[in-house]
Subunit: 209 residues, 2 copies
DNA sequence: GTTGAAAATATTGGCGCCAATTTTGATGCA
DNA sequence: TGCATCAAAATTGGCGCCAATATTTTCAAC
């Protein structure tokens, strides 16, 4: 087991750690985030916790009520719908660039990542699944060549409806996601923008067909 | 003239004030932001200034160097290009919704705002032009019906290449922008998505034709 | 036993002070 | 004069303490 690292984590690292805990469902929507707990869990001062929480407010992961504290944000239904629409817009736009720029090496790398995720679906922990999934999408949209667009997509994927992972209720749904990754790769190989967009939309809305 | 308001400005208000000063060119790219100056200019404590600056780092308005301070961010050329691409993606996507949802009242309101901007171009200050322009685009993309998309567009318009306003070098360019606003309205009236997208792209890239 | 109010406790929020670091300025020497 | 070195000043950064507010507990009255 790794020893507790001594170097003080940066504000950004704290933010990301909290964000990940939210996305993996360790901190469910609505949870009040006590600053004392956070400062102990992440080994930092309270001012650092507060700055990290301020960042997360801006990123819409948490909300704040004066003199009550910070709590995990819960996306309301109309916002969830709007969020998905934005994701479709962004990822559909990126699809074009992905098709245009994907090399054979890119496709090979994507295949590895898609297989890694599929493996984790069967054998891994929730956190491992989460990270493998992120790695795939990061690599996928990294191909499009627009770093700004990439970070925007990742930001919106993370923001999503509370936590995508907690929504992966069934094993079957997880396997479908893994399958869709392979469908995307096939579309890229075939240089078929329309097909890639179709799969992407299905992936975002998590519909059967 | 309004008296200096006594109520302490919120962190968000300070952020917005600084952001506006950056966008209007009062704080040119590269300027070092001394915390003492800011706390006096905006009438708040130094901790508030620092929290506001942290927010602006996240929004990419300023950058930070430890023990040196915060300075106004300067977008590099490749990033400017990527930024414009993202704007085209977002605003093109919104165009569809705008066309679909625009009512007669919306169009009338837009016309008023477009005329207000055109007037300010001839008679107003830089700040007034800036705000009239923002008001037009906010109303325009508010029509699309997706609040998430609206705020994303506004965020990216603001982020832009340093400051859009400082780039409005010539009066002729300003007048062209004003004209393009009217072109957009005409496209909306005609329910012509393609035309709206064409004008929008021209507006973003600020090309002659 | 229930209800209401008031004290006690817990948590957040803000400010001031001082340490860490950089920048500026001065001094001495070749 | 030019340059390196070192001291002084200015600026940022972090921490601890205490006030402000919310929450819980206690206790008394009905």
């Amino acid at each position: 087991m790794a020893a507790r690292k001594k170097t003080k984590p940066s504000i950004d690292e704290i933010s990301q750690a909290i964000a990940r805990d939210i996305q993996t469902g360790r901190l469910p929507a609505g949870t009040w985030l006590k600053q004392i707990d956070l400062q102990e869990r992440y080994g930092c001062k309270r001012l650092d916790v507060r700055r990290a929480l301020d960042n997360l407010v801006l990123k819409r992961f948490v909300q704040h009520e004066p003199h009550r504290g910070y709590y995990v944000f819960r996306l309301k239904e109309p916002d969830i719908s709007e969020n998905r629409q934005v994701r479709v817009i962004l990822e559909s736009a990126a699809a074009e660039g992905v098709i245009a720029h994907a090399t054979a090496e890119d496709i090979a790398a994507l295949t590895d990542l898609a297989e890694a995720f599929a493996t984790k679906v069967r054998e891994g922990s929730l956190l491992e699944q989460f990270e493998a999934n992120n790695a795939f999408h990061k690599a996928l949209y990294g191909i499009c060549g627009n770093g700004e667009l990439l970070s925007l997509i990742l930001e919106y994927r993370g923001r999503g409806p509370a936590a995508p992972l907690t929504q992966w209720k069934s094993f079957a749904r997880l396997e479908q996601s893994a399958q869709e990754h392979f469908d995307m790769i096939r579309a890229i190989e075939a240089r078929d923008v329309k097909a890639l967009r179709r799969v992407t939309k299905r992936h975002i809305y998590q519909t059967a067909e």
